[in-house]
Subunit: 215 residues, 2 copies
């Protein structure tokens, strides 16, 4: 059975998974790169940038789980871009350049559908206006038996957690207090009862936590 | 120079340091004992209960820092008890029995002063209605050169953190989502810039974090 997975999902100590004030230049708003700093030096991230160097430690062990076994991703519109309302710029297709690091179909949740966009390297963005359960069905079909990754942002991950549709959640707690932004954990009281949880700290200062859904 | 320290301060993954609905039977409200579960089996806690067994591991290494070098504690009224407004019951003196585990003067922040209460074992509760800076001065004098512990609850720790009066903060993150209660981190955006922070996970599932104020 294909699983639904979340990977490399950065959260601040006060529970924010993105900051306030998202713009084209600042996908994470005032959080800037701080929630993903642990990721920047890893071999996995460096490979996405076309480089062959990078770290081999605890952070890389988790970072490298991102791709293998994944056949489709679902992301919220705010992960795709900072535009709101009807699409005004069809030429801008995400923060990732011509060859995004997904290499699978990607379903973007939006109330404003538009034609699919095929990028280099196997990524195709589909824009869908449907309940999250239905989008998951579409993504599973597109994944052809492989797993589906819920890519974020926080509102999207939270919605799938609330609906009990996530099998594996990997969050990375950074020791920073963001103070404002979008919280991951709101409305999820008692979430721990549905998961086996492990934690491990990294020399980079973050704590990796894995939530594995009890069967 | 005497330091101002916080020890064994439990926080949920979503940032709550106590639950909702404090009563005489439930000092932590709906959180019950969940934020302090890691502490229950330690040698330090067992010694407070008059027993000589208990664990010797990571949790105990941190738990044992609670007492040594401390000459006075400051606590918020809600840590002392669930009464609100004017004191109606002078016979009830906290959740800790006749011999509380503080063994020093304890300053209780309240807008309703009352006579001091001397307990067994060296603990004397003083009830003070004054700005937190002034209470700290009183506590430092009472501590006679030793350190002052800020005992909680979250509103009290947060107020002293906001005033930049804490030198050493030990928090213990439990992998639970409380959903409601009193948050520790609110209003503390950028706190990490003032501290050196270390994290270590324990086999009990919690993550111990120490914040050491930069000099």
């Amino acid at each position: 059975m294909s699983r639904v997975r979340v990977h490399n999902f950065g959260v601040s100590l006060d529970g924010f998974a993105t900051g306030e004030g998202q713009t084209m230049e600042s996908p994470f708003g005032h959080a800037d790169g701080r929630l993903m700093k642990w990721f920047f030096g890893t071999r996995t991230l460096r490979a996405m940038q076309g480089e062959s160097d990078g770290s081999h430690g605890v952070d890389e062990a988790f970072a490298s789980q991102f791709g293998p076994g994944i056949g489709a991703e679902i992301m919220g519109r705010n992960k795709f871009g900072p535009q709101r309302g009807p699409w005004e710029d069809h030429d801008w297709n995400g923060w990732w350049g011509d060859n995004p690091p997904f290499h699978t179909p990607v379903f973007v949740l939006t109330h404003h559908p538009r034609p699919s966009v095929e990028m280099e390297g196997g990524t195709t963005f589909h824009f869908v206006d449907a309940p999250i359960e239905d989008v998951l069905k579409q993504a599973r079909e597109a994944a052809g038996g492989l797993d589906v990754r819920i890519g974020g942002g926080p509102s999207t991950v939270r919605a799938y957690l609330a609906a009990d549709l996530i099998d594996h959640l990997h969050v990375v707690i950074s020791p920073i207090i963001l103070g404002r932004g979008v919280r991951l954990w709101d409305g999820l009281e008692g979430l721990e009862e549905r998961f086996d949880i492990e934690s491990v700290t990294s020399p980079s200062g973050v704590t990796h936590m894995t939530f594995t859904r009890r069967t």
